[in-house]
Point group: D2
Chain length 504, copies 4
């Protein structure tokens, strides 16, 4: 079921793939390193060979009647396609996917005929209607869906498709190809991935210093929120008073899909330094009596191709169960989350106000103090100065400025998280994620991430989204259905200060 | 997300499920033994409560626009449905499934409207067509599909659905409910199961005497072809010169889905006794030089609910690879297969001929000999006698009869396997299975299964379907597409004898 | 380091072992099945070949000076010896061991010389004394100790030595060979085994229905106290409300060395039926709130050759820790133990009293009642009748007799356990075991083992040895050093009744 | 069996350890972090408390008669001793060990009496002699041996003893305490460790990138021969075309005891750079056809305390088997070994010749060339220059010098390895190790380790000790018994050049 001999007839200038498929050679072919075969194409070649290959590997859909009687899928087609795809340059991949989605999609004529037939049968009995609907449903299957299905069945096929979807998403977002067919292909692949990565098939793994080096290296590489600096750092994050969990999937062994880092503490942490910078406890034994709180301080998805296949929320729920089982008396669950986008949102505001000559973001008193420190006048000059200080992060070097700006930045940030919306939901993606899960916007923390990255992203502010387990379901529903954000008095107090002092 | 308190208000005579769902109680509820709750229903109760429950747990489909923005599934619905379903009697289950499939299926009106809209857009640009098609596809989703999806996500949900499908298949085959909706539900569930049980998610396990007792007990119970008599018997079947492989699935741990037993021999076995009855080698070491051939002597599917989700053929392929890797010089692969149905097919023929007064199945000479032994006349009397002997198996006690009948039974059996068809494919399901996989009908074996069961099923005859690895792909295609059966001279010789001597 | 070619020169009538040892052939030789080589010996053969082989494989001890500079041990010697030993009949083994222990033991002359030298140096400095002592110690090493050490290093060598010691113990106890040399060999081997099976090297394993079939089969076979009847029975004993633990050893994989069965209950069980006969809970979930007590109802050593190497007491301690960790609120730990030997002790007493014409075991009143039921006179006739009833177990069939005998048998049994001694320690081995561990003799239970075996062994009585964790250390010391048995009032009450009513 | 309460009565100025031992508290005490208890001692304290503690924990040996009837060991003594020992400063440890070995050793008087008795019984029967010998043997047991045995039984006790022996060895080698008692203690402990680390109890593990991070970190730290620079480096050494094996022991989980690194090559490597510096193959697949040779390029013992307990040679043998099983056609096995000590031996020679005014190490011609390059005269001036060049490694920077010195250094090095002896065996410890194992001194390699370390140690020369599997046994015996070194013509040729040209 696999090409036994792959021969590039170079003389003819046309690539020619000869293969004899046999059950018995499957094993040997798996060992072939296809990457080394990398075929060079002549000028006319790639497009032509794309057509040839697609025509061969994307077999026609069986008729509705014979759909259950079709021969078992041949692995060779899938392997050939995977090999071919991997051998292409980025540009060519884009072409291939465009071709695949356009030429091997739904048979529109067939669909249209069945749609007509369905309308004709509306007066008929339900059994007939059901049957025509089923035919219609079948006819709406894109031809390429079968290929995707077959690929998922060969070794490392699922990983191939996850990566292929990452390519698709890049093509779509880069507007490289704005074709609706590409979007259709993306939709089809996403729904397949959703099936394969449904929760029943995921495995929760706790990562420790005893875990395979390979996994820990990947965990380190994937960590997007608070970058891992070295092996002592990662050892710390899987050591005492820490937990690191990941979902893995049977079809992608050794590949963590989404990773959650937890700190076990006595109180809900108000800064990240104490979690990722402090090494005092590296070799200590955990004292279970000191563990009262779980702080989720980092959650990272590792597979671009699984965008939209929600794993993170389920991981948090599973981890909560896990922790409750390990620490029956654990009573507080909260995130300590970054606020990506706050600084650039603020810069945007400042620029806009600059243009419009408005200075309402700070109170008059605050502007005066800023002007005082920056040796400017409390108008757009001060605003310019402030813009610059914030964009460079230099304001953090002046104790006075820090003191002056704290109330303003805190209330602005509260507004950014609570008040800025997109289609009615929180604009900030991290906020949106935790609010969807039913968390409460609990506390904004000043001086919470003093790393250059933290200052650049969110003026050093971080936020806790707290999970009151009795309320997550109702909170989630209120947010999802009615777009209501549950927040504490601290947050609401900042909002009301914002509304009083900073007018947008 | 799980009922915290499940209270049966017995006074009111109406079951009442109160629950407060919280993330935090998930763990505890999983430990509940729902089986003990088994609620008794009053006369009016079940139907009413069915409606109530279905209405609550089968939430409406989100609109097309909000389909990606729907709140995460609540586990409590799924768990409640599973619990409720399990608490029902068989009859009630059937009612519930009928109701579910009928009232919570596709929104026919919506489909019809979109079908109309699609016809209207046929002149429009492709982008519009694609979008309407996508909406149409979405509208063809039965509402209950969402429930099935959610159930698959909770613990042991997949196993629940597999068992639910077994119920559905029983309902359909028993004609208890011939509703097209039930068939639709079955189709939807089957396609979901096909996704979840796609090959990339299956794990091949070799079963040995070191495997968990639980697994070996199940393997023993599931063995359908050559029943396991005791623990020494099963020890033998996983011991030296034997291999036992199973597919398992991450979502159903500890549950072998399909099991393949292999004997490692020097020649292709021509009888089952030497494989399952001989214990000489129980404690011996395998001599790799004596292993030249793999005989697949039993393959059993264990999950009725996975009917139509083909796992067996893939298992054989994977096992072939496994064996080639362990025994690089292994050169012969063959089944030793039972022929279920041959005896009853033969009895059917004899009855029919009896009625029609025909005696062509045996030659005149053969009839004479039969008459001689049975003290009858070589006409329908002998036929009657023969029918009785075969139905009781008594013919095996007479050496003369065995001798007389061998050629006749062999050629009839060959015909049964090779010539009897259903929709053009082999009527015998085992034959059909191996021919689909690309095997060759290689040899019929007399005296191959002398157990009472073997005699009753197929007059003790068994057949080898041999896998020539170089030819399986072409054989499979020839069979699937052109209904051509590849067979050896022995088989074809028997067929030609049949055609000369026995006229149907 | 292994015989490459083993050739039996048959012509000469004398076995001849040729071998060429090479590092590289180790692997291949391990696959050889030595059992099939079994060489037949001629009349003069075995003794002669024994000498030959022993001379070759039991190499001389290096001198004291070169003892650290001796070449690395050659595996071939060990393997050859193991093979040869296994090929012998029982009688021949005994001869071989006698020869080995006699001819390859300590060099008495060398020892005696060093002893003389030691006496001479008594006036000298300590350094000299220490050195002579060390030489003396070395000279007391039997030459065969080296062979034993080498054998322990080859694969399955430790198991070989454990079995060889079982042979030694049998030889000693059967008086087949009363040689002091055999006892010396036994002592040497025992002290080596004690080192290898020291607790730091043992691994505690919990056995469940998920454990390998091989292990569960062995556990069933080894169960000596309450025989396992079938696979449902063993499934029960590793199922809910039960625990089964075993020590295993790295050098004997898959071989449980000592097995402890525990029932998890609400109260200290007073009979074994409810533990091994009741299957109600087979599929139930454990309710942790119902578990308050651990009842050790069976402990079996599996290796005869490890006699005297105490593992059982350590296993109990480890299991107590394990259980405390799993059930932090567990408050009661107790055995439910058989009383092997009570019936035969009682029969012995009755016989003796019969001879001596004494009837003090029962009170006059009791004798009268016995006489009444048995239609005898309350003298030696009744005694005869009682002896017979007890030896047949028939007394259990008469409710009246059971009623009459209960107080007598209970107080006699209490005395048997508490008062009968051997060198000052409890005569009953099970009592001695638990008392050494620091348990308290807590309660005698009537009707506690109603199986024929239980009636035959101990008139159906069983006893709880309870472990009060705060007191085990002091109890153990009191028993070991001062031979004091800690017992409860129930037991002491029975003892005082015994002393009042039954006079020995 | 563990101190329940450890109280330091500070007022009295004397440490006072109160404890109540109970079975039930074992678990809790293990969780105590004894390190934090670190008791400060008053001036008179340590010595006094040492006595107190030793007297309590080193219980007297039972008499010969009761040696099998002694109560089970109490863990509390061992744990207390371990804790106390760990709390001591280096100096105090030395004192404690001196005291332990001196005051709690053998009962010399008892030994002497038994020696006398033995002499008296020489005329008596063998049984009596054997018994007195056994008593004598028992009396030669140092009292502290029991403590060591007990410590080995508690958790991490074996590791404690291994580390304690490392302390002992340091004390002995530093002459801190030249007491014969310390040497006795060391000997006793070594023989116990030899038992516990006998090969049957060791487990061979292959280390890969999938192994626990903890293990790989340790492997990196322990690598003594060619230091691991970073994680990419270690990934390389466990990746394709490499093997890394370690022995582990059940009583010291997660602790590799001896580590062997192997390169899989086509030819016997003649330099280390190509093995540890080349990363080309990091992600490639192994091509089994390119693997013909196993080069052992590093073997490291990790536990100082296991000195003299030979594990390395057994590891090599086991790895050879492992490799033969994985690569049946592997035909060459060889080390690529460093030559520690060659440079300093050479420097020593040069210094000595300088003093004695001799210049025979190089030929006249060679001296002239050296003088020429170094602008000196071909006498002791040139010798001085050469000494300096070699001690700084600067000679490697002059191509001419390298060219001139190659033949001289090669023949000198050959002599160093082959001709320099200690008690008749090779002076170089690596040579001695491989020659003991039966390897052949196969090839000296110029430019084989160009790292600064390699140049400093052995002028960049390395040597292959090759294992001809058919000959290792005879080679080993020839070396061990007759001190014969097997070497190839290349080596012998260099020796004869040496003998001709350089006269020592």
């Amino acid at each position: 079921m696999i090409p036994q001999h792959i021969i590039c007839t170079l003389r003819s200038g046309v690539r020619c793939w000869q293969h004899r498929s046999v059950l018995g050679t499957v094993l040997r072919v798996e060992a072939l390193d296809f990457r080394s075969v990398r075929c060079r194409s002549t000028s006319a070649g790639p497009v032509r060979s794309m057509e040839e290959i697609l025509t061969r590997v994307v077999v026609p859909l069986p008729t509705y009647e014979t759909r259950e009687k079709s021969p078992p899928p041949s692995e060779s087609n899938s392997v050939e396609f995977m090999h071919f795809y991997r051998s292409l340059e980025k540009e060519e991949k884009s072409q291939l996917l465009a071709k695949l989605s356009h030429d091997f999609g739904v048979d529109h004529k067939g669909v249209s005929e069945l749609a007509g037939k369905l309308l004709d049968t509306q007066q008929r009995d339900l059994a007939t209607i059901l049957q025509v609907e089923d035919r219609l449903r079948y006819s709406l299957t894109p031809r390429y869906k079968q290929l995707l299905n077959h690929i998922s069945r060969v070794e490392s096929g699922v990983k191939f498709l996850v990566d292929l979807r990452a390519d698709l998403l890049e093509i779509i977002s880069s507007k490289a190809s704005d074709s609706p067919h590409i979007r259709d292909l993306n939709g089809t692949l996403k729904s397949l991935l959703s099936e394969w990565f449904s929760v029943g098939l995921l495995r929760l793994e706790r990562i420790t210093w005893q875990s395979p080096c390979e996994i820990l290296q990947k965990i380190s590489q994937y960590e997007a929120v608070h970058p891992v600096r070295n092996w002592t750092d990662i050892k710390r994050r899987v050591g005492p008073y820490r937990r690191c969990y990941a979902f893995t999937h049977a079809a992608m062994p050794g590949e963590p899909l989404v990773v959650l880092h937890v700190a076990l503490t006595e109180d809900i942490s108000d800064n990240i330094q104490s979690i990722v910078r402090e090494f005092a406890t590296l070799d200590s034994e955990e004292d279970v009596n000191k563990v009262n709180t779980a702080v989720f301080y980092s959650i990272s998805s590792t597979q671009a191709g699984l965008q939209g296949v929600e794993l993170g929320n389920v991981l948090i729920k599973r981890v909560v169960r896990e922790l409750q089982s390990e620490f029956p008396h654990m009573s507080q669950f909260s995130s300590l989350s970054p606020i990506p986008g706050f600084s650039s949102w603020l810069q945007g505001l400042l620029s806009q106000h600059r243009k419009e000559g408005r200075v309402e973001l700070l109170t008059d008193c605050e502007w005066r103090k800023v002007a005082d420190v920056t040796n400017t006048t409390p108008d757009t000059n001060a605003l310019d100065a402030l813009r610059k200080l914030i964009s460079t992060g230099d304001w953090t070097r002046s104790e006075r400025l820090v003191h002056i700006l704290e109330p303003a930045l805190m209330r602005l940030c509260a507004w950014y998280l609570y008040g800025e919306k997109r289609r009615g939901y929180a604009l900030n993606p991290v906020a949106n994620f935790h609010l969807q899960n039913g968390a409460t916007m609990w506390r904004l923390n000043w001086h919470a991430d003093t790393s250059p990255r933290g200052v650049a992203n969110s003026c050093g502010i971080m936020v806790n989204y707290r999970y009151f387990l009795q309320e997550t379901t109702s909170n989630s529903a209120a947010y999802m259905h009615n777009k209501v954000i549950t927040a504490t008095e601290q947050v609401l107090g900042l909002i009301s200060q914002f509304q009083k002092n900073s007018k947008l």
